[in-house]
Amino acid sequence: MSYGAQILNSAGETVFDSEHFVELATASFTVVGTDYNTTASGTGLVSIPARCFVDDVNFFVTPGSSFNLKSISSGSYQNVYQLAVKANTTSFTFDGTTYINGSSPNTGNRIVTATSSTIGEVTAVSAIIDRTGPSGSGGTYTQSDYTNAYYLVTIGTTDVSSYRSSSAQIYSQTKTSYVGVPHVWVRPLSSSYSGDFGLQIYSGNKISIVDYTNANNTFEVIITNSAQEFGGIAGTSKYLAGGITYGVKALTATDQKYTTSHPFEQHTTYDSGSYVVQILLAKALDHGPTNNGTSYSYSLGSLTTSSIKRWCRMDATQYYAANTADSSYPRDIKKMVYQWASNNNIQVKWRVAYQDSTGAFIFANYTTKQPFAIAEFGAGV
């Protein structure tokens, strides 16, 4: 690297610097393990916090489309948070037919005045009102009359009634958002746990841990994001180590952006306010030279004896593969899971994920190598 900070370990390897993003903890919680072949629910099904998807990194593109406000009677509004916005007409021709649509600000876009003063962010848009037609004619030409058409646009909980009498144009600024990629680290809460466990993902950004002991053990979970995403999370709930007003923070030069629409800015590469992933063992694994049924274990290497808690990177245990050693239906669909004997003895092995009786199974994720890893987050975690 040619500038900034660089911290090396005793072997001369990069621990963090001002150019590369480490992985930092952004959330932690517990989840009760779910039995194999059981749908997770209750305390066994937990949502990943929204912040881990970096849902508040937004950028409003300017200049946006212009719209005109429409004067309507006050009784036509449902509340003081709404503006009546004239429908702009847009048209396009496809296969000889011209289609006309009215357009309005989209939900999530921002409304500003002609002088770029922000009115607020659009949270809802009504169906079009007072459009008539089709009034056009002539062969395949399809047309509606948008002369009096408008939308009721809701601006959050901002009282916008003072803008309603204005005849000035307003503008819509398109919002572009960045979506973060959280990673999942898990360990059993009990120091006496011995068994196999894997990750199951449900819609709504929810996860469960499949506990093959059938004993509903409790598991600790840490969610991590790249430091770049960590830096983009607003609020203080991401500071799991407590350091908000003190500590060490490393930043890039002003050469980073979350999306192509964003301006160049400095992004976080390291922050002592949360725990950093410290890898002990890692291995990329696939089916291996033979597709070893559902009873084969893989070593990730040896762990030294330690009282500091070890954590398993679970991302790759979400996937499935057909067990080609099982040729009769119902057929075993297998997945890689962690085989936890103790804090100092952790391997990876195949287990049956579920049984497929339909033959509809198509994908086999473990034809290519998937990453497995054991890590620590320091003495306090």
Partner: protein, 132 residues
């Protein structure tokens, strides 16, 4: 410690100590690789990977997190997603090769591959224990 960097959390627990051989997960790149099906030999693309020295090094000291479709997409979770095969080529160079080169109809019957039979995968690439 006589040198290096120590870091403690608000409970005074030692979080990080660089006087040991501690290794963090350091992100190198986010890359999208698009490969086409049905080609002979199988479609592939080389990629310059900082510091890689062997297939063993690639397996043990790099993590490729497959994120296409969004890691948390219900489409990707569980059944979906066909990763490319990633192999070591030479110092500093690896190769992505399409792992599923065959094309099928909606009914699962083999069929001729076309221009739209491709697999695009996005990876976050992390390295462990390298001098960057």
């Amino acid at each position: 410690m006589s040198y290096g960097f120590q870091q403690f959390d608000s409970s005074s627990d030692l979080m990080l100590d660089t006087s040991t051989a501690v290794t963090t997960l350091v992100k190198l790149d986010t890359v999208t690789i698009t490969l086409f099906k049905g080609e002979t030999p199988s479609d592939s693309e080389n990629y310059n990977l900082t510091g890689v020295t062997s297939q063993q090094d690639l397996d043990d000291n790099y993590i490729f997190a497959q994120i296409n479709g969004g890691f948390w997409s219900i489409v990707t979770a569980g059944g979906g997603g066909e990763g490319h095969t990633i192999t070591y080529v030479s110092p500093g160079v690896i190769k992505f090769t399409i792992s599923n080169n065959a094309c099928y109809t909606l009914f699962g019957q083999p069929t001729q591959c076309g221009d739209f039979d491709l697999i695009a995968e996005t990876y976050e690439i992390y390295t462990i224990g390298k001098l960057l």
